[in-house]
């Protein structure tokens, strides 16, 4: 069973002082699927991402990615295993252009070492390859025209796309996307999700996606987990979840 799960979260608990942000969370993402994580504000979704991505150590429980125990592993190591995350609130390298933001996210650029960076001929070829890939990625995400803009001087929606572009530069096995379509108009939101679906179908990429806009989300994802007060309270296909009375109650209660 664990073989076809690329990500497994087992009995994870995380507290902040008195707040229990995650309480015995058990969930997983099947290889090659788009899995959604939904739930009202403050239910613990971003905290779960931070635990998976190595920002927080869980108080209890385990996280496995692609056969590795990644519990408490630092983010940079998790990245090199092929798990890449984006942030709910975009975190731009604000002193750099959009293009440089995307270039920096490439994997294994030899010119990033203090010694090798001094000799251009060592890294030039790799850099050109990365540059072409960055242009391809920005083109796909329709941010090529803002490549030269300072990344602090673009709209919030564009920042989300830059986040996604950075995530894609390393050809990850799996993406953790925290509200990838927040702050963008519905047309673009659909385009983003179509693009993600394309990544799943063409590249076999797995994804765990947090998203508030269920109307859009449910058109694309294969499986849904519902979180409430730090616990997974329901799971299933989008159809099953939207008919689940528990879920309906949570969302009604929130309104």
């Amino acid at each position: 069973m664990s073989e076809d799960y690329i990500l497994k979260v087992e009995h994870v608990r995380k507290t902040f002082g008195g707040i229990v942000a995650l309480d015995d969370v058990v969930m997983g993402v099947r290889r090659g699927t788009m899995t959604a994580l939904i739930g009202p504000n403050g239910s613990g979704k971003t905290t779960l991402f931070n635990v998976i991505a190595g920002v927080y150590k869980p108080d209890r429980g385990k996280v496995y990615f692609d056969g590795h125990d990644i519990t408490g592993m630092p983010p940079e190591k998790i990245y090199h295993l092929g798990l890449v995350r984006t942030f709910q609130i975009p975190r731009m390298f604000k002193g750099m252009t959009v293009y440089e933001n995307v270039l920096t996210a490439a994997r294994n650029n030899p010119g990033e070492s203090y010694a090798k960076s001094l000799i251009r001929s060592i890294w030039k070829r790799a850099e050109l390859g990365i540059a072409n890939k960055a242009v391809d990625t920005m083109k796909l995400l329709k941010i090529l025209h803002i490549a030269k803009n300072l990344s602090s001087a673009i709209s919030g929606g564009q920042m989300k796309l830059v986040e996604l572009a950075r995530g894609l530069m390393s050809d990850p096995k799996m993406l953790l996307l925290d509200e990838p379509a927040a702050g963008v108009n519905p047309t673009l939101a659909h385009e983003i999700f179509k693009f993600l679906r394309h990544l799943r179908d063409e590249r076999g990429m797995s994804m765990l996606i947090i998203e508030h806009r269920l109307d859009i989300l449910f058109d694309y994802v294969d499986y849904v987990y519902v979180m409430h007060r730090g616990r997974i309270v329901a799971e299933g296909t989008p159809e099953e979840v939207s008919e689940n009375p528990v879920v309906v109650e949570i969302y009604l209660g929130e309104a």
Binding site: V55, P74, P75, E76, Y79, H80, V84, R85, F87, R91, M92, F93, K94, G95, M96, T97, Y99, E100, L103, T104, A105, R107, N109, P110, G111, E112, S113, Y114, S117, L118, R120, W123, K124, E127, L128, I130, A131, N132, A134, V135, K139, K142, L144, H145, I146, A147, K148, A153, I154, S155, G157, Q158, R166, M169, S170, V184, N185, T187, L188, E191
Partner: protein, 347 residues
């Protein structure tokens, strides 16, 4: 591309130096030495702070380590001049790494605090040791062997030494430019701008920061050694926190993460210092001229932080061959814009 403000100011600075040269050659040599010395130190801070975002408030301490390492090796052990320079860089790098290892992983302010402390601690240690110690305690270190002693004419010797200092300045400048305009430059800036995001794209930020401080300290140590062999005498009280402050001012007014800007900032701060020193012989000031200098530099930094925080020559994108790819491809690929879009492209 040369920035206009930078170019104009650069010309003015060069003009002032040339004017000095016309009036008094040995004064000008002295000025050039100080420019080279401070520029190396300011460039090393630019690596640490401008690129990697590391607040090193103890720069003078690393300069002192380099100066005293070189001075003691020469005066007490007769070590040849070139080896003293190398040893100075290594010793300062070791102290840099020693401080970086425990602090770089912690929050930014811890690094700032530990470097302030180390900067002053080194001076106090050097000062409060017996005067019969190899470095002479409060009496200072004497007997540093003059480099280029095969040149008998002392004026020519000074020219040779100042020339060497300028060469080492160029070496430092080229090193920083290579680092800055490479994929490494982007990684350092990414750490400076958002360390968590940098980690999330797989950068081993701890290693990068550790090396930035180690290499920055090595360069500061080299500057210190140049200082030692210029004066052939060292006193602990030369290495006051004011030196660190001046170096910070050079970086901030010149332009962070811009090496040309930092050199310009160095020249401006030094020239202000020199010109006020000269002016005090002619103008009667109502206050102590040294305080007046400090006030002037302090005022300058406040004005810059308020009105031009990016410095005289602002930061530029990291130059690598990647830009050529964008220039070639973007005009062809950007057609999709015409197909009509979601309307997100407007800010």
């Amino acid at each position: 591309m040369v920035d206009k403000t930078g170019l104009i100011l650069g010309i003015i600075v060069a003009g002032i130096i040339a004017a000095f040269a016309a009036v008094n050659v040995s004064y000008t040599l002295d000025l050039i030495f100080f420019l080279a010395f401070y520029a190396i130190a300011a460039l090393s801070l630019n690596l640490e702070y401008g690129y990697a975002g590391l607040s090193n408030f103890g720069k003078v301490g690393f300069i002192a380590v380099g100066a005293y390492t070189a001075g003691v090796l020469s005066a007490a052990y007769g070590v040849p001049f070139p080896l003293c320079l190398i040893a100075a860089a290594i010793a300062a790098a070791a102290v840099g790494a020693f401080i970086a290892i425990p602090t770089v992983k912690l929050r930014e302010d811890y690094l700032g605090m530990s470097t302030i402390i180390i900067g002053e601690m080194i001076r106090i240690l050097l000062r409060n040791t017996p005067t019969n110690s190899v470095w002479g305690g409060v009496f200072g270190l004497r007997g540093i062997k003059p480099p280029f002693d095969f040149i008998t004419n002392t004026f020519e010797r000074t020219i040779a030494y100042v020339g060497l200092s300028v060469v080492l300045f160029f070496f430092t400048y080229i090193l920083l430019e290579r680092w800055g305009n490479s994929p490494l430059g982007r990684v350092l800036k990414s750490i400076r701008d958002d360390e968590l995001a940098s980690k999330s794209i797989g950068k081993f930020t701890y290693r990068y920061k550790l090396l930035a401080l180690t290499l920055g300290s090595a360069l500061a140590g080299l500057a210190g050694a140049l200082y030692a062999f210029y004066f052939l005498y060292l006193n602990p009280d030369t290495f006051l926190p004011l030196v660190t402050f001046l170096i910070w001012v050079m970086v901030i007014i010149g332009g962070m993460a811009n090496n040309a800007g930092v050199v310009l900032g160095t020249a401006i701060v030094i020239l202000i210092n020199r010109l006020t020193q000269i002016a005090k012989d002619y103008i009667h000031l109502p206050l102590e001229p040294n305080y007046f200098q400090a006030m002037l530099v302090g005022l300058l930094i406040i004005l810059f932080l308020m009105f031009r925080p990016q410095g005289l020559v602002p930061e530029k994108p990291v130059r690598t061959p990647a830009w050529r790819v964008l220039e070639e491809r973007a005009p062809k690929e950007i057609d999709y814009l015409k197909e009509g879009e979601g309307g997100e492209e407007n800010e």
